[in-house]
Amino acid sequence: MSALPLDWRRRWRLRRLAACPLRDYLAAPFPQPGCDYKAVEYVAVDLETTGLNARRDQILSIGWVRITGNRIHLDSCRHRLVRVTGDIPADSAVIHQITDDEAARGLELASALPELLADLAGRVLIAHHARVELGFLDAACRRLWGKGLLVRTVDTQAVARRLLERRQIPFKASDLRLHALCERYNLPRHGAHNALSDAFAAAELFLAQAAHRDNGHGMQLGDFL
């Protein structure tokens, strides 16, 4: 997906949407791939879900944190539990440790998602294995406002894979997992399996990947897309 069409599609979709949080989000231009990556703002996002199927399963929690250039801002940490309909499947509860009771105390997706979109406006989304986050967020936007999510995205897993492939280093699928990569870059271990912790780990991983690729001659946002 080349750069121009994405922003073109953003404007196209903006014109066809009635007033809603998604429209507000789309009103801000996307950062251009030719920008210096340090001048760009990012939001690292992670979701906990009841399963892996974006059309059938539901979002349980959203964690995100903002990055400006090469700094993570801790004051922007957000963690929102989302109320789900029906029971949480036991096998997913084992992983994210969110119980039905906790989820029942959560926000409606319709109030949690606008908060994320407000932070995401004009920024680049960072996620590890971003397909899952994009799929669920896209499905949620469609359900709530009738149109899917458009967003410029850095997938830290894809960045890692490209780096290993370019250097012709053999790797296993497990080497590309978030925690394995964090260890590789001398990053601290984060405790709980939690949407904010994982969003934070992805943010730190992005800083590390950027620092390792940056040879001082300037890099563009497009180098990470």
Partner: protein, 621 residues
């Protein structure tokens, strides 16, 4: 608070100086931070910071170098980097840095830091202007931390100065008695695994065994006391004493959550009041035999432990212990004279080294020499040889082991009349040689212990006169004073040594105390001062402008701080019943102590450098 922020809060709370912030301030702190990742080899501080901030290392390492590219420090997890924040804090002036590993850092904006410093005095003290202020405060803290020795405040757990002596209930009475006699204890705890089943005391052996004709082959179970009163380790001394007198017993087992830890006796409690130098010296004066002296001197470790607990500084402890050593030396001389008869001519018993400086810790080596009146006849030396041998052997039996360098009065070389001593010093001063320099720490620190005829003054005056006219030997001694270098600081669990090497432990005596003692000696000699004690030398040298007053005061603080850490380290070892040594591992130190120690090292280094420049010490090294 969110999980992630809690985790960062916990990290901060476990590191100095953030551990001194109240909970409310700590709770609000994480969200004021931002996070950066610096690749290995990145210049530090990075050039692209838009606003000034303090870097707190979360992962990785930063190396700091001075303008001559010498490594002066290496920072790791939990360390604060020099920052451009506010007045007073350690800044990067004259320093350059670089990340030595891939590094993740938390950035605290200077304005937030300044507000925290304004609101929290204890926190602010970490960033205080001068490192000498920090050292002085650290010393005060040590004194404040003192638990006091009075029976009202001491907990019985603190009186347990030796590992538990115990046996099984089925050993024979004879074996039980043997264990007690070997361990020199008056009671024996009988245990079955961790369970306390009974106890016997000296009195039980007498009343329930010997008096009743019970065979010593019988199991000790037959004569033990089963229903025991016990105390907890946190029971106060006076409560334990009241319990004992109420029950008319002399021993109480002390328990902690795991089981029996030891036994506290009436004599332990009484001794809190009496384990001070004054009592020991009184006992020494009355001692009629070497055995008695040896058993009194065995209490020196206890004296050191008690003094450390009562918050005494290294110099107070040094004075107290040396007072005991002096008394033992004098008593040994009296006992020897009683046996050998009056001396044929007057003599002076001289102590050298740490005894002369009044800086001993319990059981330092012995360094001594004999100065004899010049009208000594050749046949008289047999008397002094016998006298010296008795005293040297006696000191050794009292725990002051023979000097490894044989600087003792029993060595013919160091048992000489005044005219020979004068010649010795003349040679050392005029032709400083390596050997003379080695001996200088002993013989330029010299103090008369027993000198009824006042011989020492004459020698001291001659030395003073000679050294006034010759200054070259001071230059040699200055070079010698630079031989023992302090470490740079700490890096993770290691000691960082100049040149970038690491070590697991460091010798606090040779890398911390000896350098200051050596500096003080050079200052004192160069100013013609007669003080011997290191602190007195430093103070007098400051007055005499042999070094700046500030320099002198800072060295005194550094010396007290390092010395007190050493005394405490040794007291811990003595308490565990192990041999006291000088090897500290960074693990033994709190982050705060590590910080202060690093300050003290930096100060010693600065003073050594400036001494080296003054005497161009390189020429003589």
């Amino acid at each position: 608070m969110d999980v992630e922020l809690i985790e960062i809060r916990e990290f901060l709370a476990s590191h100095s100086p953030f551990d001194r912030l109240p909970d409310s301030a700590l709770d609000a702190l994480p969200q004021r931070l931002s996070v950066r990742y610096l690749r290995r080899g990145t210049p530090f501080p990075p050039t692209d910071d838009d606003s000034p901030c303090l870097y707190i290392l979360r992962r990785g390492a930063v190396e700091l170098r001075d303008d001559g590219d010498n490594l002066i420090g290496k920072l790791a997890e939990g360390d604060l980097c020099p920052s451009p924040c506010g007045q007073g804090g350690l800044g990067m002036e004259g320093l350059s840095g670089q990340t030595a590993e891939d590094t993740l850092a938390y950035l605290l904006p200077c304005e937030v830091l300044d507000r925290l410093r304004g609101a929290h005095t204890e926190f602010a003290s970490h960033f205080d202007a001068s490192m000498s202020d920090r050292l002085r405060r650290a010393l005060d803290t040590i004194k404040d931390d003192a638990t006091g020795t009075a029976l009202m405040t001491v907990q019985v757990g603190e009186l347990l100065n030796r590992p538990l002596v115990h046996g099984g209930p089925d050993i024979s009475i004879r074996d039980a008695a043997r264990i007690m006699s070997e361990a020199r204890v008056s009671s024996l705890v009988l245990t079955d695994g961790d369970r306390l089943v009974g106890m016997i005391t000296d009195r039980d052996l007498r009343n329930r065994c010997l008096a009743l004709g019970v065979s010593p082959q019988e199991p000790v179970r037959r004569i033990m006391t089963e229903r025991l009163h016990t105390v907890r380790e946190d029971t106060l001394g006076f409560e334990a004493l009241i319990t004992m007198s109420r029950l008319n017993v002399h021993h109480l087992p002390v328990l902690d959550e795991r089981g029996v830890r030891g036994v506290v006796s009436t004599s332990d409690l009484v001794r809190i009041q009496s384990a001070n130098a004054v009592y020991l010296v009184g006992d020494i004066r009355k001692a009629e035999s070497l055995d008695t002296l040896a058993s009194i001197s065995a209490r020196l470790s206890e004296l050191q432990i008690q003094l450390v607990h009562s918050g005494a500084t290294a110099s107070q402890i040094g004075q107290a212990i040396t007072a005991v050593t002096d008394a033992i030396t004098l008593r040994l001389l009296e006992l020897a004279e009683a046996e050998l008869g009056a001396p044929p001519v007057p003599y002076c018993w001289m102590a050298g080294g740490s005894q002369a400086r009044r800086e001993q810790s319990s059981h330092s080596d012995q360094d001594n020499a004999l100065l004899i009146a010049d009208h000594l006849k050749p046949e008289d030396d047999a008397y002094f040889k016998a006298l010296a041998q008795r005293v040297n052997d006696g000191l050794n039996a009292c725990g002051y082991v023979y000097c490894p360098g044989d600087v003792m009065a029993s060595n013919d070389q160091w048992r000489q009349p005044l005219k020979i001593w004068t010649k010795y010093f003349n040679t050392w001063i005029k032709r400083p040689e390596p050997m003379a320099l080695m001996l200088s720490s002993v013989f330029f620190d010299l103090r008369p212990i027993h000198d009824p005829a006042g011989l020492f003054n004459e020698l001291a005056e001659r030395i003073h006169h000679m050294s006034r006219q010759e200054t070259i030997y001071i230059a040699y001694m200055a070079a010698n004073a630079l031989k023992h270098r302090p470490p740079l600081g700490f890096f993770r669990k290691l000691v960082l040594i100049r040149g970038g090497e690491h070590d697991q432990t460091f010798d606090i005596k040779h890398r911390g105390i000896v350098p200051i003692v050596d500096l003080a000696r050079v200052y004192a000699l160069s100013a013609g001062l007669e003080d011997i004690n290191t602190i007195e030398r430093l103070k007098a040298a400051g007055e005499a402008r042999a070094l700046s007053k500030d320099g002198a005061a800072n060295l005194v603080d550094a010396y007290e701080f390092i010395g007190t850490l050493r005394m405490r380290h040794q007291a811990e070892q003595l308490k565990r019943g192990t041999q006291a040594d000088n090897f500290l591992s960074p693990d033994d130190l709190s982050p705060l102590e590590r910080g202060h120690l690093k300050d003290a090292f930096a100060l010693i280094h600065t003073m050594q450098e400036s001494l080296g420049q003054r005497y161009q010490a390189g020429r003589f090294a």
